[in-house]
């Protein structure tokens, strides 16, 4: 601890969250609290308890365990994730321990004493606590508490409530299928991502998370974390319609979309690594991406693109990545006749009118080609439902 330079005084102790909030967990913590009370000890820092469920909360209240914890100064929070997922106003260094160990440290109030081996320091003396013991299940059974469960009707007559004015939620329109004859010709390149391009660079989180249920809104974050070979500043690009650089990539994509012009995103190796975040595939599809052409994909992101109806392709020769310029237009030949394992030909039309072509690969199975043809996997499923 000293080596790392962590401060010795603790600022808070937290018990609960999903993994340590059962009846037994709270029971062990309450055991230590009862022992502490016998010696007149109180928690020296705020001690917060989040019961795992209403059933646990009601049961520990009935059995007096909650009172044991409150007697040494604990506060009970809502039966929810709370501080464990950062839903509170603090930014301290955090340590993990079992509930009973956390209570012991909260009583000590400091990290630089060992309350278990050496005891809690009180008035120059040390109070040793016995090892905790608790019942696995309540002897009297669980108390019901307030029922928090709502049974579904499962009826087509039931309405789904989304306010049209909402900034956080918007119903999704199914993505329209793209014409396979005309939709993959002379497409501009929105960006050529340089180096790492993770899902967090394609769809950054942070302040954007509040729009996660509103695709139109959250799409304003698209590629804003990506380094583009065609622009100096990350998240910006070159608009082929105006010939200007410096606009943000989502703004350029929206300009193309307004002209019903699809586009291509070009990327480097392991494109889309990171998380399985679906927005990283949905936002490009929503703003008009037809193809994502890269040196290599992270597997999960590649599958997510296929599901949304974007065609993920990889360069047969990774060196072809360098051939793509900011004003080039790409035509993908034969996407209406995709076959598993058969390469696709790309023709680049350069600004000087010169045309080059090269081969690219796809990894779509026959089933996934069905998703692509339908415009998305969910479109295909919707088509299969009985009316």
């Amino acid at each position: 601890m000293k080596n790392e330079g962590y401060p010795a005084p603790l600022s808070a102790g937290l018990i609960g969250s999903c993994t340590n909030s059962s009846y037994e967990d709270i029971g062990r913590a309450a055991f230590i609290a009862r022992e502490a009370k016998k010696h007149g000890l109180k928690a020296r820092v705020p001690l917060m308890v989040t019961p795992g469920s209403e059933q646990v909360r009601a049961t520990i209240e009935r059995d007096g365990l909650l009172a044991d914890l409150e007697a040494i100064g604990a506060t009970v929070l809502a039966n929810a994730c709370g501080p464990c997922i950062g839903q509170w106003e603090r930014t301290d260094v955090t340590f993990i321990g079992s509930p009973e160990v956390v209570v012991a440290y909260a009583l000590a109030g400091r990290l630089d004493v060992d309350p278990i081996a050496d005891g809690i320091p009180v008035d120059g003396k040390r109070v040793k606590l016995p090892a905790p013991a608790a019942q696995e299940f309540p002897a009297k059974g669980y108390a019901a508490g307030e029922s928090g469960y709502v049974a579904p009707a499962g009826s087509a007559a039931a309405q789904v409530v989304v306010s049209p004015a909402s900034e956080r939620l918007a119903l999704l329109e199914p993505f329209a299928p793209i014409d396979k004859q005309t939709g993959y010709r002379d497409l501009p390149v929105l960006l050529r991502a340089k180096g790492k391009c993770t899902t967090d660079q394609i769809s950054p989180a942070g302040p954007w998370l509040k729009f996660r249920g509103h695709l139109d809104r959250i799409s304003d974050n698209m590629f804003t974390g990506a380094t583009n070979a065609f622009a100096d500043k990350p998240g910006t690009g070159y608009n082929v319609l105006t010939g200007e650089t410096g606009e943000t990539l989502p703004a350029i994509a929206r300009a193309y979309k307004a002209k019903r012009l699809g586009w291509v995103a070009v990327g480097d190796t392991n494109y889309g690594e990171g998380s399985s975040r679906e927005h990283a595939a949905m936002s490009p599809r929503f703003l008009g991406a037809r193809v994502v052409l890269v040196r290599s994909f992270a597997r999960i992101h590649e599958t997510n693109l296929k599901k949304q109806g974007v065609l993920p392709l990889t360069f047969a020769d990774p060196a072809d990545y360098e051939r793509i310029g900011r004003e080039d237009r790409l035509t993908f030949v034969g996407v209406d006749r995709l076959e598993p394992g058969r390469d696709v030909e790309v023709r680049i039309t350069h600004t000087d009118g010169k045309i080059e072509s090269f081969q690219v690969r796809h990894s779509l199975t026959r089933e996934q080609i069905g998703w692509f043809m339908a415009g998305s996997a969910l479109n295909l499923i919707r088509g299969q439902q009985k009316p």
């Binding site: 989040t50 795992g52 997922i85 340590f95 990290l111 299940f137 928090g148």
Partner: protein, 347 residues
């Protein structure tokens, strides 16, 4: 459609009817004894006749028994599900409002504030759950993983959840995997769920939990050990005599911790190599898993016979897995280790 959490028992019993046959078929095809995790995965193959998967290489289609979603990740998943035009979800699904409540003053006031600021989200989730037959757990009803353990988990089952702590259901012998919203949508619309066939890590627990040692210390110890070997795309399976002293709660706690905290998106420096998708399960030979319902009826889960592995063969089984590969596939953790608990930095 499950109208009440008690219907989940019927879901499990229904699954058990064909379980023994599926496990037997898998055992014959594999031509070697299977670990508990392998039995669960084989029993959930979408195509039981597909080529035998290879650990860490093959991608397989699976049919999970359940889906659970928390209120943050459920939003886009349900919005997508709605575009598929299905009348209800293909497998039993539940929604749990636990992530959007900010802890500030105390239970009642914080809950009231959350209900106000997140009203539109809660109304959407509640109405969509009602429309498509999903069980809805209101804000304040509990944390997703504890509610799953109390009402929905069962030995031998396979579940996905849109939250990194989903493996918690391993406390009742379920293989429970944390996934993204896109995976949840696949399962809810009835598509096979794709998974890279995981590698295995066996953990042999010896001794007995006692004194100040708890399930938390086991997982912190394991996390420290796995920092070297790595845990991404692997199933951690516990076995050995020590498992008998772990309660259901302790078994839930020993599931691997996720590498990140969603709100801060910063890695936990303590466990850099455990995957962001921790995959895990607990050996049920030791798991006379029990879930008590309130106040009655009480349901006591027993691990189905076909899933049990005789104690006498477990060590041999893991040794043979170790020998077949160049890597070491299992580690030992004595529950009475002497190093005193020192705490572990989270972020």
């Amino acid at each position: 459609m499950e109208k009440s959490p008690l219907d989940a028992v019927a879901t499990a019993r229904n699954f058990y009817q064909s379980l023994a046959g599926r496990v037997m078929t898998a055992r014959k095809r594999a031509g070697k004894p299977l670990t508990y995790a392998e039995k669960v995965l084989y029993a959930h193959l979408a195509d039981p006749n597909a080529a035998l998967p290879e650990r860490g290489k093959s991608t397989v289609g699976l049919r999970p028994d359940r889906v659970a979603m928390q209120d943050a990740t459920a939003q886009m998943a349900i919005l997508q599900f709605m575009t598929a035009g299905r009348p209800e979800t293909a497998v039993p699904t539940t929604v749990h409002c636990d992530h959007l409540i900010r802890a500030k003053v105390g239970a009642l006031k914080d809950l009231a504030v959350a209900e106000d600021t997140n009203r539109e989200v809660y109304e959407f989730l509640a109405s969509a759950s009602n429309r498509y037959g999903m069980g809805f757990w209101k804000p304040g009803s509990g944390i997703i993983h504890q509610v799953i353990l109390e009402h929905y988990a069962f030995p031998g089952g396979l579940m996905i959840g849109t939250d990194s702590h989903t493996p918690n259901a391993g406390g009742l012998g379920m293989v429970a995997i944390g996934v993204g919203g896109a995976d949840a949508v696949d399962v809810m619309v009835g598509m096979p769920w794709e998974l890279l066939w995981p590698r295995l890590i066996g953990v042999r627990l010896t001794g007995k939990l006692s004194g100040w040692t708890s399930g938390k210390d086991v997982i912190l110890k394991l996390a420290g050990m796995l920092t070297v070997a790595g845990g991404t795309n692997k199933i951690v399976e516990y076995f050995g005599p020590g498992t008998e002293s772990l309660s259901c709660t302790a078994k839930a706690t020993v599931q691997p911790l996720p590498t990140w905290v969603p709100s801060s998106a910063r890695p936990l420096r303590c466990f850099p190599s455990i995957g962001a998708w921790p995959i895990t399960c607990v050996r049920p030979a030791v798991l006379t898993g029990r879930a008590l319902r309130r106040p009655k009826p009480r349901i006591w889960w027993q691990t189905p016979k076909c899933m049990q592995i005789p104690k006498s063969t477990t060590t041999r089984l893991w040794r043979s897995i170790s020998q077949r590969s160049s890597r070491k596939w299992w580690v030992r953790i004595p529950l009475t280790w002497r190093d005193r608990y020192r705490g572990c930095r989270l972020m």
